[in-house]
Symmetry: C2
Subunit: 344 residues, 2 copies
Amino acid sequence: MGGDHGPAVVVAGIARDAAEWQAKGVRFLLHGDQGAIEAELSRTPKAKPLCDVRHTDKVISSDEKPAQAMRRGKGTSMWNAVDSVRQGESHAAVSAGNTGALMAVSKLILRMMANLERPALVATWPTAKGFSSVLDVGANIDCDAQRLVEFAIMGEAFHRAVHGAANPSVGLLNVGSEEQKGHEEVREAHALLRESEVKLHYLGFVEGDDITKGTADVVVTDGFTGNVALKTTEGVARFVRDELRAALTSSWLSKLGALIASAGLRRLWRRLEAPDGAPFLGLNGIVVKCHGGAEAKGFASAIHVAVNLAQSQYASEIERNLQQLTKALAEHPEVREAPSETIE
Amino acid sequence: MGGDHGPAVVVAGIARDAAEWQAKGVRFLLHGDQGAIEAELSRTPKAKPLCDVRHTDKVISSDEKPAQAMRRGKGTSMWNAVDSVRQGESHAAVSAGNTGALMAVSKLILRMMANLERPALVATWPTAKGFSSVLDVGANIDCDAQRLVEFAIMGEAFHRAVHGAANPSVGLLNVGSEEQKGHEEVREAHALLRESEVKLHYLGFVEGDDITKGTADVVVTDGFTGNVALKTTEGVARFVRDELRAALTSSWLSKLGALIASAGLRRLWRRLEAPDGAPFLGLNGIVVKCHGGAEAKGFASAIHVAVNLAQSQYASEIERNLQQLTKALAEHPEVREAPSETIE
């Protein structure tokens, strides 16, 4: 029921790749207003045979606070979707609804893995080489070294499951490549990743421009820096796009040139698009957030992320590596004891 | 003598706007190898009458460490240029040399204002509305609330002097606009800027995408986040430019279109260019760093920054506002006593 466009986008998103879901044996359990959903399904014959509907007339609205959602969310479509993952009835939940509420409800129902305190959000950047996965981009503002290594572990498993890289490389975001640079937390995480038993393909420090160069498949940072990097990138991309449009409509000659080059320009816009669908990493269960304003194509992309994660070894890989991290921390007690305030 | 192209770029940079410097009474004292510099001057009759040469055959190389530069830099062209500011012989120093060495030498010779520990680097972003000034983008990794407010004070005076805005607006970079969001340091700085006697045109929190929107003239952040935002922006801009070039050469039709629209596209590249020349803010004296790879146009732009700062009330404005901050902190002792580790 969530997102700006409600069930229409969800059903149309399923229909886009209906043949693939049919072939893979993927089925969908749609939570929400039965009448509204069935009306959409009857208009969409490709999606209909793949879907079951679970009725509820309760919804979490887009302006509800996370705390309200946790107290009053029981029985809503969002709550039921996440709860069906806990009960083993579904392998993953996908929602375009209220992000804060989805995170709070998911955490409450599914609980976090191991020592994690809250889910990490991963964002996908298009790069010169394909895509890079950057995390955390939102929820974890202050991160100690252990948290950063946990992000590395989760991001690596995510990237393998979703982008098919056998051995994704991992970089730690910093302000320079020298060992003495950056926050204490970043330097400690660097030491842990290089020396520990957590066997990741760790490249060392990377800088902001390495994200779009595709230097590392997975770029690890705290939620404050990651969120600023993501929003800054969105801003720059929008600014360049607006300026390009202005430049190509500034005279009739430019307009003519743009018309003639339109196939190339369409290719450009496609290249700059990041796929939709960001999982909350670190939960005991798969929950994928789709952009609230997503159209069918975006929702379909989020479904692909959920299916790829559900059909991979993602959860067991993370669990195994988190156990290795616990061992490594026992061998490097100085990292665990390092003063690192976590203000949240 | 610094920069990738040595004295040729410095002399050509002066020559570009020789008429303006002549009219404004601006003169240049060039430090370095007399023979090399005079050879350039004799090839550049527009620059020659504006310049005096101060010979030295010592230089700081581009790979010298800051600590080496401080120990062994005496008598080099960089040292002498900064020292001429301390002696009152020059009003500002401009260099395209080794950044770390220039910062260390400047700090050693000129000393920091008030309580500041090290200079802040300001970067200029082109925006939908003109330019925004973002600081710190490099030197100050961990910043407490007081440091962030100092950046606001320095950035505001810089923006007025260089971009001519009478009352520049100031925003504090955060991950959301709500008061409870972000690091403790950011929330404390927000409280100080809103309530204190430091009379800035403070807008509150801004996010990463506000930088290119031009929401605030001056965007304040710690050096870690600012450096990541700057490098990420450079990476995204380069990626989009490369993709645009690829799209416009992908077929003969696209090539033809690009050729026809070339005036518009040239306008675009100009719009996306940030002016060169970043001052080290907070020194008792003006030192402007020009990009090492700058050509004459970039060096000319750095000279403009230096002249604008030297001919403004910039230094006295900063000093007055820093005094107001000291008063405000005395009235809000809780901010000064807040725990804020400064790891450097």
